[in-house]
């Protein structure tokens, strides 16, 4: 057995919150990374996976973090924790390098990508001038940047997200490191790009024979590239083993839940199993009960949109203005009690459609027939009674709730505005009922949003919509920001509500599996155009448009057994 390249032993890290309280982020974590091996560190938010990676690099904030003296991080036999600051610094970017989740913000916006790559070369390889330039171009080529000679002088903002991440990788491998730490490198990227980046990392790992510590919340993405998987939760390791073992024969309930609570394209259980289900041992039976989706021509139409166009303008030149067509001639029918999935990558116009339908944007052109009336043609005042009947749940549960309101106020405000309920008591009664409905305790009524987790907040947002008893609910990436286990819970809730109230959903997401799971019909958008539209099962089985095919091919599928 060879010695591990990196060996983390009993790593304990605590953060100081204020003078009295500390928070233990890592409670004794141990794992090894062998040379030429990819290890995936998987966990949801708060699991401690990022803290682990920062600890390895010695980048934890000095002021308020503390590493237990018993801990060890051995790299090539040296305990990194005992190194001096400058020794650590020399290691960083040279022997150990790292790429991050947000390529846009991780690159310094005011320097060219070439400058930033050459900076590493100068620091560690003392490479300057033409030699550095040559090497930088080489690196850019290696990570698949076309026209590298030209792009080397680009600023980060002139590149797409995928290219930015490629630049990050180029910078990370510039000094041929022994260990590359990739911290959620694909999370912020579109699904097609994600695939390319994953492939690139795998390719480079093989080519350079380096080790990769791959950190992600999404088990599905590591199946292809990782040799070993370490599952973390709340600062502890739940399970570790070879990828095959973990995927095929998970031992821990949490691992099992992680593996199965994410919707997959080829199965549509009635409810998604969550951790509690595994603990209660009912997960396996749940998985068998399938739901059938699809629409019939006879289903009544809740909303019909015809020829919706939305343009945005920006100033250009002395007098000119530039038009950006965010949505071009979008038409669809939403059937009562059914879900229309809207899928596409960032910038495809799917959110614009959602916001325009409920008049948060004014449509440039088009009609939206609702309840026998064209709601686009109404004045703001005429529209008010209809407004409550079309509601929306936003993507970011942290931003969509007013932090200065208590949950009670949040829930009662729409009732006050629309005159629902008789007086405060009746309204609070309704609010309590709704809280129960979305699975929140009663006392949530008195709390502020910041006291809730993301999933809980999304439940509050849903409850707020329900106060107005809407006919249509637009879910704009409503589960995208949630951890998979929480996502499953919210999806289950949405399913339940649809079953109970007969709500019609417009379900907007970039996640094809989730859309497939939720939708009766699916509409695929790209660059403001609807490229394909149809029954969801049909469309996923036999995509017609090339773009749809590409999208479907990019879905990470976990382990290819």
């Amino acid at each position: 057995m060879t010695t591990p390249l990196l060996s983390v032993k009993n790593l304990r890290v605590s953060f100081r919150i204020d003078r009295k309280n500390t928070f233990e982020a890592l409670k004794g974590v141990s794992f090894d990374v062998m040379p030429n091996q990819t290890v995936a560190l998987v966990g949801e938010s708060g699991s401690g996976k990022s803290v682990t990676s920062l600890a390895v690099l010695g980048l934890l904030p000095k002021e308020n973090s503390k590493i237990d003296p018993q801990s060890r991080i051995d790299f090539e036999g040296t305990n990194l924790l005992t190194l001096s600051n400058s020794q650590k610094r020399e290691l960083r970017g040279d022997k150990i390098s790292m790429i991050f989740q947000e390529p846009m913000s991780s690159l310094n916006p005011v320097f060219t990508v070439g400058y930033q790559i050459k900076e590493v070369l100068k620091e560690h390889k003392n490479l300057t001038g033409d030699a550095a330039q040559k090497r930088a171009i080489e690196l850019l080529k290696e990570v698949g940047i076309p026209h590298a000679e030209e792009r080397i002088d680009y600023y980060p903002h002139q590149m797409s997200g995928g290219q930015q991440q490629r630049v990050m990788i180029a910078m990370a491998i510039a000094c041929e490191p022994k260990l590359l730490i990739a911290d959620e490198p694909t999370t912020a990227l579109d699904v097609t790009i994600q695939k390319q980046i994953l492939d690139l990392i795998a390719e480079i790992q093989k080519k350079h024979g380096m080790s990769v510590l791959f950190i992600t919340h999404d088990l599905a993405v590591v199946g292809d590239i990782a040799d070993r998987v370490v599952v973390m939760r709340n600062g502890e390791i739940k399970e570790q083993g070879t990828t095959r073992d973990v995927f095929t024969n998970p031992k821990d309930d949490y691992t099992k839940a992680l593996l199965s609570c994410r919707p997959v394209v080829d199965s549509r259980p009635k409810r998604l199993p969550v951790i509690e289900d595994f603990m209660a041992g009912r997960a396996d039976t749940m998985r068998l009960e399938q739901r059938s989706r699809g629409v019939k021509e006879s289903d009544p139409v809740a909303l019909e949109v015809k020829g919706l166009c939305k343009d945005f303008y920006s100033r250009e030149g002395l007098f000119g203005k530039k038009t950006f067509h965010a949505a071009k001639d979008v038409s669809f029918k939403l059937r009562k009690g059914k879900t229309l999935g809207l899928v596409g990558e960032s910038g495809s116009g799917k959110t614009t459609v959602g916001l325009t339908v409920m008049r948060l944007h004014d449509a440039t052109k088009g009609e939206a027939w609702f309840d026998g009336k064209n709601i686009f043609a109404m004045s703001e005042k005429e529209f008010l009674p209809y407004k409550k009947r079309i509601q929306i749940v936003f993507q970011n549960p942290y931003a969509s709730l007013n932090p200065r309101f208590t949950v009670g106020q949040i829930l009662m405000e729409p009732m006050i505005i629309h005159g629902i309920g008789n007086g405060g008591e009746d309204r609070s009664k309704r609010a309590f009922e709704l809280l129960a409905k979305v699975g929140l305790p009663e006392m949530s009524f008195y709390k502020y949003p910041h006291e809730f987790s993301g999933g809980q907040r999304q439940r509050i947002a849903i409850a707020r919509c329900l106060t107005m008893k809407p006919d249509i609910l637009i879910c704009d990436e409503s589960v995208s920001a949630l951890d998979v286990s929480v996502q499953a819970q919210v999806l289950n809730l949405l399913q339940d509500l649809q079953d109970e109230f007969g709500l019609s959903y417009i379900f907007i997401s970039h996640d094809l599996a989730v859309v497939k799971y939720m939708s009766d019909e699916v509409m695929v958008m790209s660059n403001g155009d609807v490229v394909e539209q149809g029954d969801s099962d049909e469309l996923y089985r036999a995509p017609k448009h090339a773009y749809t095919k590409k999208l479907l091919d990019s879905i990470p599928t976990g382990l290819h057994v």
Partner: protein, 391 residues
Amino acid sequence: MNTAVMNPSIGIERSPGLWSLAWKRLMADKIAVFSVIVVILFVLLALASFFGIVAKGWNNETAVNYAPPTWFKDSHKPSADLSGKQPTTSGPALDTGLAKPEFVNDRDPLRDTINELKGQLGQSTGSGAVDEIKIVDPLADVIAELKKKLGRKGDEIGSGETVKKLDSLPFGADKWGRDVLDKVIKGTETSLLVGFAAAIIATLIGTVLGAFAGYFGGKIDDALNWFYSIFSSIPYILLVLAIAAVLNKKGVFTVVLILGLTGWSNIFRVVRAEYLKHKGRDYVRAANAIGASNMRRMFVHIFPNISHVVLVQLSIYVVLFIKSEVILSYLGFGVGVDTVSWGSMLNEAQNELILGYWWQLGAATLFMAVLVTAFSLFTDSLRDALDPKLK
């Protein structure tokens, strides 16, 4: 790190909002606590002065002119022996000719009345007989006597007691013999009032205009921005002088208006930017989605979320305006004589340092520095507490 952990055992109890969390953070900061205490002490002092509990007699001439502070009583040697001991009718080498021949004014319509009154007041000549023709005071000694009696404002004639003026006071006395400590306390009241009132006016104007400009954008924004750029392009001092000339009245309220009307542009910019940022946020969209009106979105939803910015700006203004009041005083647009402010004291004391009477300058500077420092530190801590990401 999200540290707020839900604790189901709390029961039905109001949980802390962001404000109380911010307050907790604030109170965890030693410097903040200390500065809050100092500020509160100053506010209490100002209130006490306002209600006449302290410094009520700031206008009383209780001590000799330029009486030194008690601690420096012995060490202080005034550069001139003038303090209070100057003969009442001066004219160094010149004689005003007081005890000169009397002047008979046979044209005086009030001659008889005055003579009569003099008789009643017992202000007759030494002989006791009221001379019908001599209507002029038998000056020198009567004046001297009356001056003694009238040495202090408010003393009734005839009380007969000569009030002994003090040689020294804890903080010394000004040129009229008024207690510098009383003055500086009274000045605290005025300066705090000016600072807070002007800050509130400026904040109000700037916030409302900024909110409209930022929230509505478009034509409204253009118009308000135009207005703003006019105000911010004109040199501040010219604006102040012009508005002061227009208001043309002395008094605390005028000072407040001058500062308030000229100072709103900063907060306008800040609030406008905040509204621009917030109007696109999801929670505002959500408010729109539930049918909240523009006003409701602006002031019920957005405002509480930017109120910390306004609050911080407000407290920056307080400090700024307290300091500006000094400059206004220098330019002659300070408070009137019926009150006193730190600015008026500093200006009064401008030349006193060189003369060796440093205490008025010192006291006003000290009080102002302590309050302004405490207030600024408080503002910093407040900003940190309200905006934890800056820590």
